[in-house]
């Protein structure tokens, strides 16, 4: 999966590494600002008995 993605990235080694860093940052931001806040409400539904 990851080797396939690596092969599909254009450019030389440095360009590929930079693209991987950029894509990872975008994925991380998407998770922290959109996916995890949503997941939080699914995994930990409000419990009025726990503070």
């Amino acid at each position: 999966m990851y080797s396939w993605l690596w092969r599909k990235l254009p450019g030389n080694l440095v360009q590929k590494v930079l693209q991987v860093i950029l894509l990872s940052a975008v994925a991380l931001a998407a998770m922290y600002f959109f996916v995890f806040p949503w997941l939080d409400t699914v995994i930990f539904p409000e419990s009025e008995t726990q503070i």
Binding site: M1, Y32, F36, L39, D40, E46, S47, T49, I51
Partner: protein, 244 residues
């Protein structure tokens, strides 16, 4: 299954057939990568819950508390009637010199504990009154306002600022109890050594252990003194927090 070819210069070439990986090898490889990815995402989620979200919400609640009176003002204690009415600001020097949170009516996660920080048990009295002024806040997650409740000790004080009055309470005792021990917020708190009718108590409640939440940690205080907000912040608190 290989052929060996020897060149005139003595170099030996070993010819071996290309073995294509079987289909199950490809499937297990992809499955392994997916599971590893899921593991990393799970660790990131734990980091999000324990660090990112906690700090983010904690800072929001703290900033909200520090700038509140200039914008909105506190609801008079006698006029508090509905959920999320904000009627006080709390300072606990033991939690840090810049630590401050607002206190609102009600103890539901939304819209009180998660957004504002500290909630007042509606069945208990208001600050300064005879009986037990009981409040609750998260220990971990959503700002974890009472994260350091276990560090409170003899000599500690908490300061409750309301519209007209500062209430200064001194620390009495901390206990870990079961969630069913609701008597800890009674007017004469159950399990508080030497509790007497007619006293003016403050009870801080939160969950323990952090993120486990199987028990409740309780800290009791007793009213030490009051002073008008017209004369400004209590002198001893001002030394700790400066001019905030």
């Amino acid at each position: 299954m290989s052929d060996i070819q020897e060149l005139p210069d003595g170099t030996r070439i070993i010819w071996a057939p290309i073995v294509r990986p079987k289909r199950y090898v490809f499937v297990t490889q992809v499955l392994g990568e997916i599971l590893l990815t899921a593991g990393v995402v799970l660790m990131l989620f734990v980091g999000y819950k324990t660090l990112f979200q906690d700090n983010l919400v904690g800072n929001q609640q703290s900033d909200f508390a520090k700038t509140f009176t200039e914008r909105d003002g506190f609801v008079e204690l006698s006029e508090v009637s509905k959920e999320a009415d904000i009627f006080a600001r709390m300072y606990v020097p033991r939690f840090g010199e810049s630590w401050t949170r607002l206190i609102a009516e009600g103890t539901r996660w939304h819209p009180v504990l998660n957004e504002i920080g500290i909630g007042h048990y509606t069945t208990t009295v208001m600050p300064g009154e005879v009986g037990n002024f009981a409040i609750a806040a998260h220990r971990g997650g959503f700002g974890g306002a009472f994260r350091d409740i276990d560090k409170l000790t003899d000599g500690d004080r908490v300061y409750i600022e309301t519209k007209n009055t500062w209430f200064i309470y001194k620390f009495l005792e901390t206990e870990v109890v079961l969630p069913t021990d609701v008597g800890v917020i009674a007017p004469v708190p159950v399990k508080l050594d030497g509790a007497t009718p007619g006293s003016r108590y403050l009870t801080m409640t939160s969950c323990t252990p952090i993120f486990v939440n199987t028990e409740r940690i309780i800290s009791w205080f007793e009213l030490e003194r009051t002073q008008s907000t017209a004369v400004g912040m209590p002198r001893d608190l001002k030394i700790v927090v400066g001019s905030q």
